[in-house]
Each structure stands twice: as C-alpha cells, then as structure tokens.
C-alpha cells in the first residue's frame, strides 16, 4: 500500500504542474507543435514528465493488479497477474520514455 499511496501523492503534485503548464496559455495554443516540442526541450520539464510517467505507470498498474487479485485468487493466477503488471508497467514506461527522449533530443 505504501507504494500505491506514495506514487499517488507524488503524481497528484506533478500532474498539477503538468496541467498548470497547459494553462499558461490558451489550451489549443499550448498544443501547437512548436509549443509541445519546446516543452520537451526544456530539461526540467522533460525530467518531470519522466517522473510523472513512472509514478502513474506504477500507480495505475499496481491498482489494476489489486483489482484483479481481489477478483480471483490462486498461486498461478496471482503470479501471472504480478508479473503481467510489472511487464505492462515497464512497457508503458519504455514507450513513454522513448517519446520524451526522442522529442527532447530533437529526433523528430
């Protein structure tokens, strides 16, 4: 539960910053290509996005794991859910990190 609560509190704070960043200008303007790319080129913000990505992936897939374990029990089932959640977490973090890295390094 400590992981779930810790990631929740961290994510709430950082997602608030992420949303406030969108509100520094008109919402549709903030989504313009050059503005989004500029966000990724700003290193502190890119690092924050990476942290948000990790926190939300861990929180989200741990939550899904808890729901699925509450639904059904059994050694093989629980092992599959535990390892499946970790694999999904890693895959999502890897895919999101790829975007942050490539956009941040101007590889788009």
């Amino acid at each position: 539960m400590k992981i779930h609560y810790g990631t929740a509190l961290g994510a709430v704070a950082l997602v608030a910053v992420h949303i406030l960043f969108r509100m520094t200008q008109k919402f549709s303007d903030s989504l313009q290509y050059q503005n989004v790319i500029a966000n990724y080129h700003f290193l502190p913000y890119a690092l924050m996005l990476e942290v948000v990505l990790v926190l939300l992936s861990v929180h989200g897939f741990n939550g899904l794991r808890v729901i699925l374990l509450e639904l059904k029990q059994g050694v093989a089932y629980e092992r599959a859910i535990n390892y499946g959640s970790i694999a999904a977490m890693v895959a999502l973090v890897a895919y999101g990190s790829r975007t942050i890295l490539m956009a941040g390094m101007g590889m788009s």
């Binding site: 539960m1 639904l71 059904k72």
Partner: protein
C-alpha cells in the same frame, strides 16, 4: 463446495455498486475511475508519441482528439481524476486512522464507527469537486 461457489459473485459482485450504501458507491467509483484513468494514461502516451513523427503526424492526431467528442472524453477524464484524487486522500487518511472514530464496544444497531458522517460528507464533497472541475474543464475546452 457448491454452496461456496454459489456465494461467489465474481466480477458481477464487484461491478454492483448497490446494497451497502454510499461507501460502496464510493468504492465502486474509485475502481471505475481508476480503470478509466489507466485507459486514458495509455491513450495519452500513445497520442503524444505521434510528436516524434513530425508536425504533420502531430496535427493529424490533434484533428482526431481536438473534437467535441474528444473534449467530452477529456471532461469525463477531469471528473474521474478529481474524484479519484479526493476520494483517494479520504481513503488514505482513513487508513491512517484519521476521521474513522474511536474503537468501542459494539452496541445495537451495530453501526460501524468508521462509516460516520465525516466519511460520508467527504464522499459527497469528492463528487461535488469532480462535478465542479468537469464544469470548469468543459468551459475551458469548449470555450477555446
């Protein structure tokens, strides 16, 4: 064995928000909003990944998401996010023993001290905050 299995409702039992009052509804909404937010997170990460394919791909993706339907989905996501956060803080505090009352001798009609008016009020406040955030979000998204 047959009796044990007949008591097992499985996913139907989990998906049923009734029978146990507002606390059960709060639990159900927390689970539902959590699943919705996870689906949104995956979609959002996929959506933003189009930026690495250049301006044209990004603008194509925006054409798909910046529509009235997209704004309605985003408004629902805002509501889910605010409810999940506010109710999650309530659950966290309750887990830490805040606002759940003092333990005492069970007395008729055996009302659980932890399911008191403070907890119920917090659930309603969470729902109200989510509704307000949705209204604000919709005003920003559709007013753009």
């Amino acid at each position: 064995m047959a009796e044990r299995l007949s008591n097992r409702e499985g996913i139907k039992g989990m998906a049923n928000p009734t029978r146990y009052g507002i606390e059960r509804v709060a639990y159900w909404l927390q689970r539902l909003s959590g699943l919705g937010l996870l689906a949104y997170l995956i979609g959002h990460i996929y959506e933003t990944s189009s930026i690495v394919d250049g301006r044209v791909a990004w603008e194509k993706m925006l054409e798909l998401t910046q529509t009235p339907q997209g704004h309605i989905i985003l408004t629902i996501v805002i509501g889910m996010c605010v409810y999940h956060t506010a109710n999650g803080v309530r659950v966290m505090l309750g887990h830490g023993g805040v606002g759940v009352g003092r333990p005492g001798q069970p007395e008729y009609p055996y009302k659980a001290a932890s399911l008191n008016y403070k907890q119920r009020l917090c659930i309603w406040v969470s729902i109200a905050l989510a509704a307000l955030a949705m209204m604000y979000g919709a005003a920003v998204l559709f007013g753009d």
